[in-house]
Structure formats: structure tokens, C-alpha cells
């Protein structure tokens, strides 16, 4: 069955450094991969989508990579700030009409 793995351990990063989160998937080949941010007590908020033919995508301080050979996506936040502290969820999709299935998410703490 399809499996999505995100680091379940919380990630602590010093303010100003780059935070890198990992999303690994097995048993399928998604054409798209989404990343969401979720704050406590709130619903997830969409951040970025990357397609299988895009190796990298950027949005302000965010960068996402998609390696279909390794079956992995990396999510980077550069010049991290305490306000970036949240849980980040990845969601690989087979196609645009596919139902969206989420990983468990990684909790990120940016330490001042």
C-alpha cells in the first residue's frame, strides 16, 4: 500500500539557519507533491506544489525539491524565524484528481 514517511521527531533549528524537512514515499509514483503548514488548533494551509518534471521550486524563503528516483521531497526554509515554528505536512498525489493523502507531519521549532 502507499506509504508516506515524514520524520516524526520534532526538529529544532536555531533562528537564521536553514531548516530541512524530509518526505519519503513508497509503493507509488506521484505526479505532484504538496506541502502544507499546520499551526496548533488550525487547519493546514497550502504552501507549495511541485510537479514530477520540476526538480526544484521556490517561494520566498521556501524551497522544495522532488527526486522521483529517491522517492523523496525535501522542504527547506532559509533564514528561519521563530514564526516558522509549526508542523509541516507533505501530500504526494498521483494526479490532479487524486484524493489528497497526508503524511504525519514534522514539527519544526525555530529557537530564538
Amino acid at each position: 500500500s502507499q506509504k508516506i514517511e515524514q520524520n516524526s521527531e520534532a526538529l529544532n533549528i536555531q533562528e537564521g539557519k536553514t531548516a530541512t524537512l524530509t518526505c519519503n514515499y513508497t509503493n507509488y509514483s506521484p505526479a505532484y507533491l504538496q506541502w502544507y503548514r499546520q499551526d496548533p488548533g488550525r487547519g493546514p494551509v497550502f504552501l507549495l506544489l511541485i510537479r514530477e518534471n520540476e526538480k526544484e521550486k521556490r517561494k520566498e524563503r521556501l524551497k522544495v525539491t522532488f527526486d522521483t528516483t529517491l522517492k523523496q521531497s525535501l522542504f527547506h526554509i532559509t533564514a528561519s524565524q521563530p514564526a516558522d515554528s509549526a508542523t509541516y505536512l507533505c501530500a504526494p498525489l498521483l494526479n490532479r484528481d487524486d484524493k489528497i493523502i497526508f503524511g504525519k507531519g514534522t514539527r519544526l521549532h525555530i529557537l530564538p
Binding site: 488548533g41 497550502f46 506544489l49 505536512l89
Partner: protein, 114 residues
Amino acid sequence: SAVISQKPSRDICQRGTSLTIQCQVDSQVTMMFWYRQQPGQSLTLIATANQGSEATYESGFVIDKFPISRPNLTFSTLTVSNMSPEDSSIYLCSVEGPTNEKLFFGSGTQLSVL
């Protein structure tokens, strides 16, 4: 973007009772989705609700336990029936963006069953 209002935001319920969660969207949407997020777990899709037809349930979820209504293109309800403590969770409704490439979520309903 879509603005989704969900209520109640939280509730504490007794075992054996039912709770209906409402979801209102500020624009017309074809499909609405209901997710559950148990403590420390990922979001799990419960069902997809289309206006004018019965909801489509995912494996492990049944209509008798989670009846859904979708009376129009901007509104849906999810009922959690005959609740047990195992139903304690966050319930979220969501809709797709216009290009079907992302979801917008309500702020969720935190349900605790005693």
C-alpha cells in the same frame, strides 16, 4: 482562495450521543471533503461530499457512523453518531482551489468524548 467557517470549534460530548459539525464556504464548490486528525496522527480522509448525491466514504468509514449532508454548493454537515472516546479527534472540512491543485481547510472542530 476560499474562506471556510466551521463550527463548533470545540465540544465535549458524552458517550452515546451525536454531534453535527457544520461547514460553510464563501463560494460555490463542487466537492467538499471531511478529514479526521487523531492526536499525533496525519489527516485521514473520511468522505467526499458532492452536492445532490450521496457522499463517498473511504475505507473504514461508514455512513451510519458519519452521516453527511450536502444540501447546496456552499454548505455541508458531518455528524459523528453514537460517539465513543475513540472518536475524540479534530474534524476538518476542506475544499479544492479552482485549479484542483490545493486544498483550503476550515479551522477544525476539536471533539472530546467522555
